[in-house]
Symmetry: C2
Subunit: 498 residues, 2 copies
Amino acid sequence: MQISINLNPDSKQSLQSQVFESIREQILSGRLKSGMLMPSTRMLNEQLGVSRNTIILAYDRLIAEGYLYSKETVGTFVNPNLPEDSLMLMEDTLKYLGDLSENTIQKINKNTSKRHPVAFQGRVQDLFNPFHDQLEIDFWVGRPDPESFPINIWRQLTLKKLSHSGSSMTEYHDAAGIFELRKAIAEHLRPARGIDCDPEQIIIVNGIQEGLNVVARVLIKQDTLAVMECPCYQGAAYTLESYGAKLIPVPVDKEGLNVKKLPDKKIGLAYVTPSHQYPLGATLPLERRVRLLDWARETGAYIVEDDYDSDFRHQGSPLTAVAGQDKNGYVIYMGTFSKSIGAALRLGYIVLPTELVGPARTAKALMDNGHSWLDQAVLTEFITSGAYVKHLRRIRRKYLNRRDSLVKALQKYFGNIKLSGLEGGMHLVWHMPDSLPESKEVQKIAQDIGVGVYSLPAAAAHDFGKKRYSKRNLLFGYSSTSKEQIVDGISRLAKELK
Amino acid sequence: MQISINLNPDSKQSLQSQVFESIREQILSGRLKSGMLMPSTRMLNEQLGVSRNTIILAYDRLIAEGYLYSKETVGTFVNPNLPEDSLMLMEDTLKYLGDLSENTIQKINKNTSKRHPVAFQGRVQDLFNPFHDQLEIDFWVGRPDPESFPINIWRQLTLKKLSHSGSSMTEYHDAAGIFELRKAIAEHLRPARGIDCDPEQIIIVNGIQEGLNVVARVLIKQDTLAVMECPCYQGAAYTLESYGAKLIPVPVDKEGLNVKKLPDKKIGLAYVTPSHQYPLGATLPLERRVRLLDWARETGAYIVEDDYDSDFRHQGSPLTAVAGQDKNGYVIYMGTFSKSIGAALRLGYIVLPTELVGPARTAKALMDNGHSWLDQAVLTEFITSGAYVKHLRRIRRKYLNRRDSLVKALQKYFGNIKLSGLEGGMHLVWHMPDSLPESKEVQKIAQDIGVGVYSLPAAAAHDFGKKRYSKRNLLFGYSSTSKEQIVDGISRLAKELK
C-alpha cells in the first residue's frame, strides 16, 4: 500500500519531521485508521525518494509517541488502541474527508459550540499612550525621565550580584520578597514617610497594580463596598470591581477627598491618594486625614493609601503618610519604584496592618512565587548604599525645575489660570476656563500639532460618569519633557487655541 | 505654658525630628488640644536646651503638615480644625491619659472590634523545604542544579542590554510580555514541543503559578467544576479552589490520568501534567491524550496542560505536547523557565486558544503590569542566540546521568524495586514495599541522618485525602545532587532502614 505524503525540500522543517507530521496528522484525522498496517520503511523510502534513515527516525518517533505500533517480524501498524471515531478531526482537514458520515459532521458542529464560557468580564487601565509615536512633545503622565535612570550604578550592582550567584538565580525565594529588600524599605520609610513598620509587614509586589490585587483578594468578596475617590485612578477602580466590589464614589474637591461625604455604612475599604490625589493633584490636609482615620475606626473600613509619587514633594517638607499618622493599624500603605527609578523594574511594596500580614502573604504566594531575585538584590543595595536617596534628590530637583518651567509657560501664554497639583508629584492639572473647548477636544487639537496633553479618561482616570470632572480638566505630566520641549509645547498649544 | 518633651541625645533620630514627633503625638492623642496656644520657639528652646533653629524647623514642619497653625504677631496654635474628640487615640498612649472619660474608653474598645473581616481563606503551596539547612544530602524536588546556571553568558547579555537602555528601564512595557520574547518562545515551541502558535497567543507570566491565576480569573466562577489529577500539584489545587472552583479529583494510575474516569458533566477545565505527571511521574500515552481531547470537545472543558519539566526527556524522542496535538483550541499550555534556567528568574508563559487571548490579556494586565524588562530582554537573546538550546542539551545530559546514578544506587541497596517517573523530568518516585515503614516515617528517619527524601504532602503534592497515594510513595529529586551525594545518600538511607 502507499500513503500520500507531500514533502517540501525548501521547507525550514527537516524531511524527517515533515514525514512525522504528515503521518501523525493523517492518523489524527482518521485517514490512516487504527490498526492499519503501515508501509515498510523501505517502501516509503523508495516512494518518497528520501534516505531510509530519515524514514526510520520518523517511524521511531511516531512509535515513541504512540501513533504507531511495531510488531516484531510482522510490521508497523497504526496504534490499534486509538479511539475509532475520534472527535479530534480538525475542522481544516474535513475537506479531505469525503467519506465522513453525516452523523459525525453533526457531532462535530454540535461540539464546537459548547465550549465553557469565559467567566471574566473585566476592563483594563490604559498605561500606554497609543499616540506617543506621533507626538513631538508628550506631556504623558507618570513617566519618569529616561535620562535619569542610574544606569552606571545599576550595571555595577548587577555585575556584583551576578558574580557568585548560581544558587541565588536557580532557587525559589520568599514570595513576599527577599528579606534584605523589605528591611531596606522599612528603614527608608521611617525618615521618608514617617512610617514605623517591621520588615515582616512588608510584601514586595510587582507594582501598585499587583498590590491592589493582593488587597482585593484579602478584603473583597462579591458586593463588598469600596469607597473610591471621584475621580480616581482607573487601575484601582477596575481591579476592585473585577473582584466583585461595589464602588462608592466620594467626590474630590480642591483639598482632595471630601471626607464629610464618606458614607456611614459597612465599608470594606477606602482607596485614597492623599499625597497627590490622582488625577487632580490635591494634597489632603491634616484635618481631613484625621477625619478619614476616625471614619475608618468608626466604620471598620481599611484605608488603602496609594502613595504612588510621594517621592517628589516640591513645596514644604516631606509629608508624613496617613499610614504614619495611624497607630491603630487601619491603613494599608502602597509604594512603588516605578516612578522614582523605573517602571520596567516592576517592583513596589505594600505595608500591612499586622492582622492582614498572614492572609496577604498567602494570597501573594498563591498569585505568584515572588519576583526576580536579581532585580530585588540590585535594588536592595541601591537603597542601602545611599545611592537611592542621592538619586531621589537629583530627580526631585529636575522635576521641580520642569514643573516651574511648565507653570511659567502656561501663565505666559494663557494668563492668570487655575492650576492644581503643584505641591508634588510628576503632573499638574489645568482647570480650563469655559472660553476654551472641552478637554477632549483640546487634547485632539494638541495631538494634531504633535503635542500630547490629556483629558482625564485619556490619562487612566475614572470619573464614574461624572463628566464635570472630565470636561474642563487637562493633565500635564512634566517628568519626561525637557525645559525646551515644555516651552515649545505650550507655545504651540497657545497658538492653536487662540 | 510648658509642654512635656523628652529628648534623647543618643537617639539615631535628629533632635528636630524628636521635637516634631513628640508634639505631633501629643496632638493626635489629644493631650495638646485643638486651638491651644503653643509655647513660643524661644521658650521651648530655653526649656529643652536645644538650638532655637531646631525648634523653628520642627515647628515649620508641624505647620506644613497641618498640626500647628501660625497667626502672624499672635503666636502658634494647635490646628483649631482638628476634630475635637478624635478617635485616633492610640492604644499604647492610653496609659498617659489619666483624664480619659469612661465613655471614650468604651468607644475605643467598641471600635477596635468592628474591623472589616478578612475575605480570604486560602492555603498555600510549599515551595520551600523547611529542613533544608539541616540536611547534608537533599533530594528536594524541582530544584535546578545551581552549578549549571549559565552565569557568564547571563552577565554578558545583561551588560549588553544595560548599555543603552535608560528608556527601556523607565517605561512600562506590554503587560503580556515584550513581543521579542513571545516571538522567541513561539519559535522555540514549534520544534521543541510541536506547538504551532502565534506570538499573540502567548502571555509571559511570572511562572506557572501566575499562569494558573490568569486561567482561573478567566475561566473560574464560584462553583465552576475543575477536574484535577489525583494526586496533583498543591499549587494548582489551592489556587483554583481559592477562586471558588469545585475540584473533581480523577485518579492517576501507572499511565497517568485515568481518562476513562473523566466525569460526564459540565466542566470548566481539567488541569493535567501529561509529560511527567506531578507527582507520580507517568507520561500520558497517546490513546489517553486523544481521549482527553475528545472528552474536552464533548464536554466543552478547557484542558490546562502544565508542562513544567518537559525540557528533560530521558527516554525516547521529545514528545509532542497535548497542545500540539489539539487543533481545535481546547488546550491552554503552560511552560516555565524555572526548571530549565532558574526559579529566581520568575519567568514562564501560557499559550492560549485564540478566543481566550483577549480576556486573558485583560486579566493579566489587571493582575500586574508585566515583568522586569531586563530579565525579559536577556532571556530573549539567550533563546534567539541559540544559547538556550545548548544549555538545555548540557543539563539534560547531566540530569540523565544523575537519574541513572540514583536508579543504580536504589537497585543496589534495595534490590528489585518499583520505580516510576523515569522517562523524564527532575524526580522519580519509589513505590515502597509494605516491608518498609510509611513514606512519612521514612522521610523522618532519613531526615535524622541528614538525608532529604519526601512523601507526597511534603513535596507540594495534594492527594484529596486519598491517603493510599501518600502512604507508600517516596519522591526523589535528583537535579541538584551530585553523583557522589546520590550514592552516599541512598547507602545511608539503606543502612538506616535495614
